[in-house]
Symmetry: C2
Subunit: 152 residues, 2 copies
């Protein structure tokens, strides 16, 4: 099989593709999350970097800090000797999953709240100062209180 050299990307290409700035890519490199090759002084990104960037951005979207993301990425570079670090990482991963599952619940709550907000708004837009609008508003507040376990 031929060693068909992998497709590579210039910094601006990769940036455009992922909707980030070149500055951000350099920043990630600075922080040790990306390690592109060099052609002279220009950075050359491979598929590997593209994969990593994808993971970085996904991590960011779920609220991980760059440092946390780096910890995760670094993990796969750990040698067989560092069992201690692996144990530590394992605990962190499990804790992170618990946190993410809580976050998932938060998101579902938020979506519900927003949908209630939409109902509230649409009610008021349909019939200004109408009983329905007021009712929707009261329902929303009541619901919020119920979730906090408060009296009406």
């Amino acid at each position: 099989m031929p060693v068909r050299s992998e497709r590579t990307y210039a910094i601006s290409e990769l940036a455009r593709e992922f909707g980030v700035t070149a500055r951000a890519l350099r920043f990630y490199e600075d922080k040790g999350l990306l390690t592109p090759l060099r052609d002279g002084q220009a950075r050359v990104y491979r598929g590997r970097d593209r994969v990593r960037l994808q993971l970085i951005l996904r991590g960011k979207r779920v609220g991980l800090s760059l440092q946390e993301i780096k910890d995760i990425l670094d993990l796969y570079d750990l040698g067989d000797g560092q069992r201690a670090q692996m144990q530590v990482a394992l605990k962190k991963f499990k804790a992170r999953i618990v946190a993410l599952e809580a976050q998932k619940r938060d998101i579902l709550h938020a979506i519900e709240s927003l949908k209630e907000g939409i109902a509230f708004l649409e009610g008021r837009l349909a019939a200004p100062a109408s009983p329905e609008g007021v009712a929707a508003a009261r329902a929303f507040e009541k619901e919020a209180r119920r979730r906090l376990g408060e009296g009406g």
Copy 2:
């Protein structure tokens, strides 16, 4: 019915209950997200503030900025006159729901990635440098590539 005066909270009480600092509560007030009463100069938080704080923290956990949260909270104080703002808010809410649903997917992805990471780690911990460990590592990388639609 008696006007049984609602239970109130001192700043440190509310802070402790929600696991935030008093400074944070003052900060939220500064930004217009909370409006506690005053007893002399001391802040007095009511159930209303407690509800709002709950929404604030939940919003934060799903990645909303304080400004965005404020926009949402303010909405329920809009008069019947401001139909334009309500229309704007309605669009924002709907867009936000779409974003949150994307975020939910990200979280599910992240959880999966972490579980793969855990499998990877546990494999290596169980049998250092074993074929299984290597296999898990390769599987993980391959999976990441597959998601990006790349060739192996």
